[in-house]
């Protein structure tokens, strides 16, 4: 009897393990195809030249620069607001109606579909605030989209700071604001940075929010001011893969661009994961 029950357990655990493995396999398959088919497209010229011959040849420099400038704008918006929100929620607020409302706002903001952010960015930033299709409008749209990620990560980082730190500082006669500025924030800093990198990597890979707010089909210019429109890596993949008559001939460029985007996003994530596990080890000691 017990033998049969243990057999069932072995079989069931086998299935659970297979499910866990399947995720790794799926990820590997995608990365494998992007790598094997995109590798041949990667060259120095590909990374440092603008597209040529109506985007059937040449490189992706404007897309890389565009994505970087959109990311900078994003972090400029979401980091200060996100960290300040987290400070309020974790350091000042007591449980009450205002906190419930703020949390409701953050949770629901996190669930808003990316294309709806795009619609909002188009209607508000581009049209009402007259920014047009620009780095500013695209970055603001991505910024409010990443806000929940940054708030969540910052809150977690602030929570990890032991209360004894705060008490020691207060006992020395510091005010709450001085304590936060000089004791709590420095201690939480690595955690906040980790969260910001994760938020930024999400912004870098998003397409739908910038389709009508920041990114354009083609522009030979590199971004000069925040009111310039830009090309962006994710949008470039979409454009090459779906629009125009040369979809088949530019396949290797599509794979190449996708590979660059994956390397960029995974690089940021790995950095954050490593940073975080280092921090955890440090905290344990």
């Amino acid at each position: 009897m017990i033998k049969r029950r243990l057999q069932i357990q072995t079989i069931a655990f086998g299935f659970l393990k297979a499910a866990g493995l399947l995720n790794g396999v799926a990820l590997m398959i995608i990365v494998y195809f992007m790598l094997s088919r995109g590798w041949s497209a990667i060259s120095w010229e590909f990374l440092t030249q603008p597209p040529k011959d109506s985007m059937t040849a040449g490189g992706i420099l404007p897309c890389i620069m565009g994505t970087i400038s959109l990311c900078l704008m994003t972090i400029l918006v979401s980091l200060p607001i996100g960290v300040a929100s987290a400070i309020y929620l974790n350091e000042y607020a007591s449980q009450g109606r205002i906190v419930r409302i703020i949390r409701l706002g953050i949770n629901n903001l996190a669930g808003v579909p990316s294309i709806v952010f795009g619609l909002f960015g188009l209607a508000f930033f581009c049209i009402v605030l007259k920014m047009g299709v620009s780095i500013a409008a695209g970055g603001l749209t991505l910024g409010i989209m990443t806000l929940p990620v940054i708030i969540g990560a910052s809150e977690e980082a602030l929570k990890a700071v032991p209360d004894t730190y705060r008490e020691a500082s207060l006992a020395m006669g510091a005010t709450k604001w001085q304590t936060i500025r000089k004791v709590v924030l420095p201690a939480a800093f690595p955690g906040i940075i980790t969260g910001s990198i994760l938020g930024l990597s999400r912004a870098a890979g998003e397409t739908a929010p910038i389709m009508y707010t920041g990114a354009v089909f083609f522009t030979p210019e590199l971004p000069g001011s925040i009111l310039d429109e830009v090309m962006a890596l994710p949008y470039h993949i979409y454009v090459l893969a779906t629009a125009g008559t040369n979809i088949e001939t530019t396949r290797h460029l599509q794979y190449g661009t996708a590979l660059v985007l994956i390397v960029l996003v995974f690089g940021m994530n790995l950095a954050a994961i490593i940073l975080r596990s280092k921090m955890r080890k440090k905290l344990r000691i």
């Binding site: 992007m34 607001i81 808003v112 619609l119």
Partner: protein, 295 residues
């Protein structure tokens, strides 16, 4: 005295910034309604939601989004069919069975899955999966509901997995030990004690995962085929709500009927995900796992 004064000012400053998120959420609603509601001057709510024909550029144009809603719902349900079991099984494996060393490797993999840009997954569905399933199932087009669901499942799994893992992991050890003491095997304990005890967390995970799938744009835009018709089989092309917005916004003249109709689709999409989130919020608060009283 002056220091205390500064402290009060600083606190109100932080409160103001913290209210930013909810303000943005309200602004999003306001602008969706300002730009979306004018479509109701031309067509009733019932015709809009239940109209079967979506021909926004014809004259006279048809703005019925029933086929689009059905496309979204079908794609999401089919992807849920794949992602829910797989996500929960992975979560149970990570929280209960895997050794810490294995978990240390599998967890970052799940995180990397979550960070994979949606456009890359859509592109993969288009360039690799489409020709593959076209040949495998001998069907005319590879860009269809099945393809899009498969790709969406890949995106929903990390959400489902990481939230359920938290839930499973936080089941008190005392509950499990009580079950072991009664002679149950580890697997029996998982099925009869751990999963029932973490059910509210798992439900939240499933709802948030599905909410992510229904709002996902690039995957359905690139891999679902894009035909605005009511699907007859899982190998029919569909045109979910987000795909319509993304594909048509560029060609819709500013503040035309078509433009307003697309914003109205945005409202529908927003309402869908908003309800999903409220349900998830409700479940996680109402059935919060409180210590050992949760069974």
């Amino acid at each position: 005295m002056k220091r205390q004064h500064i402290d009060k000012t600083v606190q109100s400053g932080f409160l103001l910034v913290a209210l930013f998120s909810i303000t943005v959420l309200l602004l999003i609603m306001v602008f969706l309604f300002i730009e979306g509601l004018p479509i109701l001057d031309h067509i009733s709510v019932k015709e809009f939601i239940f109209g079967k024909y979506w021909y926004p550029t014809d004259d006279p144009a048809d703005f019925g989004i029933f086929a689009l809603i059905l496309g979204s719902v079908c794609v999401t349900l089919l992807s849920g069919l794949m992602a829910i079991p797989l996500g929960i099984m992975t979560a149970v494996y990570l929280a209960e069975i895997a050794s810490p060393r294995v978990a240390e490797i599998v967890k970052p993999i799940v995180e990397l899955m979550a960070s994979m840009p949606s456009v890359v997954i859509g592109f993969f569905g288009m360039a690799v999966v489409a020709p593959f399933i076209q040949e495998l199932f001998d069907i005319p087009v590879g860009l269809n509901m099945f393809n899009a669901s498969l790709m969406l499942a890949f995106m929903a799994i990390p959400t489902i997995c990481s939230i359920s893992e938290d839930a499973v992991f936080s089941v008190p050890t005392a509950l499990k030990e009580a079950s072991f003491a009664l002679g149950a095997t580890h697997f029996e304990t998982i099925v009869k004690v751990v999963i029932p005890a973490s059910l509210s967390g798992i439900c939240t995970a499933v709802i948030l995962g599905l909410s992510r799938a229904i709002g996902e744009t690039m995957v359905v835009l690139m891999a679902a085929g894009g035909a605005a018709m009511i699907p007859g089989s899982i190998f029919d092309p569909v045109r979910p709500l987000p795909a319509s917005i993304a594909a048509e916004m560029a060609e819709a003249p500013f503040r035309s009927e078509h433009y307003h109709a697309l914003f109205a689709i945005g409202i529908v999409l927003f309402v869908f995900t908003f309800i999903f989130n409220l349900i998830a919020d409700y479940i996680s608060h109402k059935f919060r796992q409180v210590g050992e009283a949760s069974l």
